[in-house]
Amino acid sequence: MALRRRRKRDEQAAVEQEAVEQAAVEQEAVEQAAVEQEAELAVEAEVGSTPVEEEDESEPESERASFRNRLATARGTFSGFLASVASRGVDDATWEELEDALVLADAGVGTATSVLDRLKERAKAEKIADPEALVAMLKSQLAEDLGGRDLELGTDGSPAVWLFVGVNGVGKTTTIGKLAAREVRGGRKVVLAAGDTFRAAAAEQLGMWADRSGAELVRGAAGADPSSVIYDAIEHAASAGVPLVMADTAGRLQNRTNLMEELAKIHRVAGKGPGTVTEVLLVIDASTGQNGLAQARRFTESAELTGVVLTKLDGSAKGGIVMAVQNELDVPVKLVGLGEGLDDLVEFDAAEFAEALFS
């Protein structure tokens, strides 16, 4: 089957080549369609081209604001969810509604129960009788659980290698594009490795992000061995003195053993050359349900995760599954995706996240 699949990939590769050539004209035009974004980028790129040290200080501030503003827009329609809770004293119905809220945020019944059990004890000890105070207490408890982690992405290595993994369609390629833009803006040179050699036009997609962000792209032929593509990218970065490689990988469902073995190999091979794998980031779609925990379990088995990127949190989904992930596997959420724009990737803020769960 591996053979069959490879053969199929090869066939696809040939077809893809054709189609790509055919679409080359198209591609340029499509890019033009994104002219607005490009214009935005041009401005950003200019800022980025003059690396300013002080920017580090001002950036978290703007990021937090962005997180809050964006979530506020997204949540506007859903606010007042707990309004009914506030109008009564704390009773069984209150607890039930809190559980419902957690379950509806995809925290899962198990997590919801354990969170609320702890809250119950604290509420009892502190004699909380006011529902609003109770909700505030719950939010701070959740923020405590989720916060206090080191969210810095590791850059020790020459080059440092960041590996992006996850199931299909969660936004790995887009995340890399945005993060590359951020790093380039911060004055770091970046090589993007097109390790998704399976999905049609995945490398083209990453290539467009490379152009937008000002990073360099290293790609292999469609259907090529992803490990070797990534290895080549690392070697290239090392010889060109580029300090950071971001490696894309094909989306894979965590129950496909052979694909997970492929990922383990990618992880192994990426650490063999001159580079050091400092981050393995699992990208999770905020709309993911309880399966997210299974994803995190299996992906960390194959490629020791160092963090989670929670994408598409600007939608109506609340991404509560990361609570279970962090709780069980102690893998922190490091980044949050809040939109399709280049600068829509921000550092995770536990307090804002907890707040948003109940808006």
């Binding site: 089957m1 055919q22 679409a23 509806l104 899962g108 965590q254 496909r256 779609d285 598409k312």
Partner: protein, 477 residues
């Protein structure tokens, strides 16, 4: 996908099955367990409440059925409600008198619209149609290239131009008319349900091309939010159905139930793998049976019918029973099996497959290996594997790129199968009625309405091992 949910139900019902009578407190407990199972499967909380309530009311007001004990009756209610929730009937695609049939795909980012546009095109092609694809996702970088690549691989033309999605869609349909294509499938950009501008745009696309079918593409791994998404898209588009993707993952797929409940339209198709042909019409009744651990015998039988020539089957069966089953036949069977799809899927469809086996991933590579080994043997060796000695084994191993130990292992397994087959031949004739699967821990005592009873008009297929569950597929690992 639904397998792990079915494991949960199996666990619940196993505990209660032995009970002859059911008190009201028992019903409550069963319902609580079902609630938990459904929530863990990501069925939306509100949908779960409705489901629970309907089952409870039926339990309370139930007349006692003589043939079923009370527990079985509850299972029957749950099963029927599951079918009802999942959408009852399989969607039948009809085509307008004046072609083309226009299909619009919409959904969140990353749900799989582009891939499934191509899969759907391929499906229509198999139905003898002449589809065309329209790439109206001008937003995601390289989305149109992806569609073109996929289109090229299945021989379906792709229309797109870098202008405006509404215009592309309209021109695409016009192009289909001009080039006498009878089905047009329009891919659109992924959009969030709360992005008003983008939602308005997809409404405009829909108005421009007046699709006959508007499908929402939903990731099977979606959690509680599936309801919000489905509601929003339904409000704008008046959906005709849902395409459920990534069903081959281990998500429990509760989103399917939620979405159906909210939209009131059936799950039309499900995408069951990365390959372009891993895409099929959705059969709610069969899936409901699978959730309850009854297997999906009907789908299996249909699949078998598609690929297994009746005469071949008869001949193979006859040989089997006489104990003349050779490696040659074994290879044949393997190849037939492969045509039916991935082994893992097939095993999941067998009624009464033990959960651990159902979960196990049966690697199709192993089959390729077996094939290679058998193909490296001489006809004589295939007929009489006994003669394979050390040097022959070495030759076969190097010929097939395997290790001698793997050759030995295969031969050992084969002789085991052969021995089993002989035993079967000596005893009851397979095909003389459904036997309880040997490995199954419980047979399906409840008859799901209109599913498993409905036997096709043809003689019963005697696909060795499969129908009778004697051939342990795990031995292939």
């Amino acid at each position: 996908m639904f397998d792990s949910l079915s494991n949960r139900f199996e666990g619940i019902f196993k505990r209660w099955r032995g009970l002859g009578t059911l008190r009201e407190s028992d019903v409550d407990e069963v319902l609580r367990e079902i609630r938990l199972a459904l929530l863990e499967a990501d069925v939306n909380l509100h949908v779960v409440r409705g489901f629970q309530e309907r089952v409870r009311q039926r339990c309370v007001g139930a007349e006692v059925h003589k043939a079923l004990n009370p527990v079985e009756q509850v299972i029957k209610f749950v099963h029927e409600e599951l079918i009802a929730t999942l959408g009852g009937e399989t969607l039948e695609i009809t085509h307008p008198a004046k072609p083309p049939t226009v299909v619009l795909l919409a959904g969140l980012q990353g749900s799989g619209k582009t891939t499934n546009a191509a899969k759907l095109a391929s499906w229509f092609k198999q139905q003898g149609r002449n589809p065309m694809l329209v790439g109206a996702d001008l937003r995601r970088p390289a989305a149109v290239e992806q569609l073109r690549t996929l289109g090229a691989s299945i021989g379906v033309p792709v229309f797109s131009e870098p202008s405006d999605p509404v215009k592309v869609a309209r021109l695409g349909v016009a192009e289909a008319v001009a080039s006498s294509r009878d089905v047009v499938i329009c891919d659109t950009a992924g959009r969030l349900a709360i992005d008003e501008e983008m939602m308005e745009q997809v409404g405009q696309i829909s108005d421009a091309i007046e699709p006959h079918y508007k499908f929402l593409v939903v990731d099977a791994m979606t959690g509680q939010d599936a309801v919000t998404t489905a509601e929003s898209f339904h409000a704008v588009l008046a959906l005709d159905g849902v395409i459920l993707t990534k069903v081959d993952g281990d998500a429990r797929g509760g989103a399917a139930l939620s979405v159906k409940e909210v939209v009131g339209r059936p799950i039309a198709f499900s995408s069951t793998g990365e390959k372009i042909d891993e895409f099929e019409l959705f059969h709610p009744d069969r899936v409901a049976s699978r959730i309850l651990g009854m297997g999906d015998a009907l789908t299996l039988i249909e699949k078998a019918e598609q690929v297994y020539e009746e005469a071949e089957a008869e001949a193979a069966a006859a040989k089997l029973l006489e104990g003349e089953f050779t490696l040659e036949d074994f290879l044949d069977q393997m190849r037939q099996l492969k045509k039916m799809g991935s082994l893992q899927d097939l095993v999941g469809m067998l009624p009464g497959t033990p959960p651990e086996l159902r979960k196990a991933e049966i690697e199709d590579e192993k089959i390729a290996q077996v094939e290679a080994i058998i193909c490296s043997m001489t006809p004589q060796e295939r007929a009489t594997p006994r003669i394979v000695d050390g040097s022959r084994r070495q030759r076969i191993a190097s010929g097939s790129g395997t290790r001698p130990s793997e050759v030995s292992q295969l031969l050992r397994q084969f002789s085991e199968v052969q021995r089993m087959m002989k035993k079967m031949g000596g005893g009851k004739r397979p095909g003389s009625g459904r036997k309880k699967p040997k490995k199954g821990r419980r047979g399906s005592r409840v008859t799901p309405p209109g599913s498993q009873q409905k036997k096709p008009g043809k003689p019963k297929l005697t696909l060795p091992g499969l129908e009778d569950g004697e051939f342990d597929l795990s031995s292939l690992r």
